[in-house]
Amino acid sequence: MALDPRDSRIGMQQELAALCNKLPTAKLAAVASEDGLLVATHEHAEPNPLDRKSAMLASLIALAHTAAKEHSLEEARWLVLGCRLGVMVVRPFGRQRRRLLLLVVGDSEKLGPALSAAKEFSVRIDAKFGQETAEASAAA
Amino acid sequence: MSELTLTLRGLPTHTAAALRSMLVLLDSALGARWRLMDAPIADVILVPGERMSEIRKSGSDEELPLLLALTSGNVCPAGAFAVLKRPVTPAHLVEVLQLAETLVERARATDEGILTVPLIESLDPGGRLAPESFDHRLRTTLRAATWRLFQAPVAVTVLDDRRDSIYSFLPSRGFTTRLTTTELAGAFRSNPPAVFVELSTAEQAAMARAREFRNPKELEWTFWISNGAPRLRPELDLVRRWKLKRWPDFGRLPHYHADVRMASALMAQALTLHELCDVAKANDDTAINFLNATFTLGALAAEATAAEASSALRAQEADKRAAKAKPSRLSGLIGQLRRKFGLASA
């Protein structure tokens, strides 16, 4: 049976909500496509498609990849923006790393836990959704 | 059709008789345009190659009368425009006489003043060429033929002296040409002899089905922008200031590099012809062509009144002060970019 994209987004939203619960100072957890479309947030499974934050995210990661290639470091795996009032962590994940996890934490001291949580999330999601999608494709 | 004449001089009797017979047989292939004369002078004189020196002729090999040498070899004697090689074949005779036809017509065109029509003076008050110069198959120049077309549009093909089409025009559709934009502009600039042939209804229908047509304004633009000896149109003058209302579409219209600079200058401010030459660093001929062509598009406007001129001038001066107050960081950049990409400033 093919995976219903809406079920996938609800599942994603639930996972993002769980991620935020692990980090008390988390303000936002979201997933976007690499071309800047918001897929889900920790609050909404059907987010506003006009959300520009995802577009900015895509721009940042694309420039990060470009910079990494300039230094012969291949693709970027992490992007961390340290800001005065918190930290933004971005991690590409998913098939061909075309999904972008954004985690915004309101306490810059919590960078370490944020990085761990983000990594753990993306590895688990790769395993969970990636595996289901492969089975659905085979059965369709 | 005007006739072309041929005479035979110094040929043995049997050779002359054979050639006469051949000419009669080839009459239709030659378009029934050649008449054999029994006179010392004609448009073309056929002479044995070894007797060429007996003919004294002033002028170049391509001036009338034309000398055609009958020889056994391929070498063209001095003074002859071509060689007719023994034994003479019908095909070769036709080929040589068709070449002669072209040269005779070209020579005649420069002799007969009405066939090279100056642009403005040739028009009567109705805007047509002098009636006696126009017949069903008008021999003229490309520019004169096109000017005639602008005054009274008809379905026509304009041919060059090789009988190749330069362009065709259908009033309901526009114009079509086998030439590139650059070639067409070049043709208008060189203004070669041309033949103006009106199309029959059947020819028009066939052409309408087979060809892609372009906006007639593009033909007008090309006509005006590519004049080798330009004169300002009567609607324009040297005294008034002119401004461009909108940019010409240089993506479609043929243009010279200076035209882009002049467009930019005239969009920014109203200028007289001489001011335009100064500002855009263009010569008079180029500027005249540009004003004529943009006027054709309806894109040129005169500065309306003295009050508006004065107000416009104040605005221009303010703009200039503002521009000069900007940092000079652009000095040199524009020239360097032009040199880099071959966008010459001249």
Binding site: E34, D35, A55, S59, A62 | A268, K320, A323, Q336
Partner: protein, 179 residues
Amino acid sequence: MGPYRIVFAGPIGAGKTTAIQALSDIPPISTEVASVEAEAVGKQTTTVAFDLGQVLLENGDLVQLYGAPGQARFDFMWPMISENAIGAVILADNRRPDTIELTVEYVREFAPRITAGNCVVGVGRSDLHPKPGVDAYQDALEAEGFAIPVMEVDIRRKEHTLLLLDVLLARLEATHDGA
């Protein structure tokens, strides 16, 4: 002095990358990624930040050629890449039913940020989609107060890209008394 900047803007698929490639001394840096909306927009990839090419001049000055992302959700990039640019080339795609409205929008966005409002519009794909014509674009731009050159181009032809550059330079000369 410099680096100077020229911006190429327009909807997705209009030919911005092609134009930059024609002029750039280096292979342009690209931030193209696979497009989730490929079917809707008719292109497999989309630019998510900008394209960047460079022109090195004989005196060592640098001119940067920025290709703006075409999709509206990336419009936050537009002010960043166009600020103080010496010119903007807006490429229109005549296949689009909304091409005139879109072009006016691009001009409205970019012209105020460009030196002397120095923009030129290149209308692509007119060979197969002759309408709207150049006059229609000019009418719409004039209604908004913009007297900008509009010309039909085939951006795959380098001489047309150079024509657009030539027009930008001529406009700069007219406002800055040449160079």
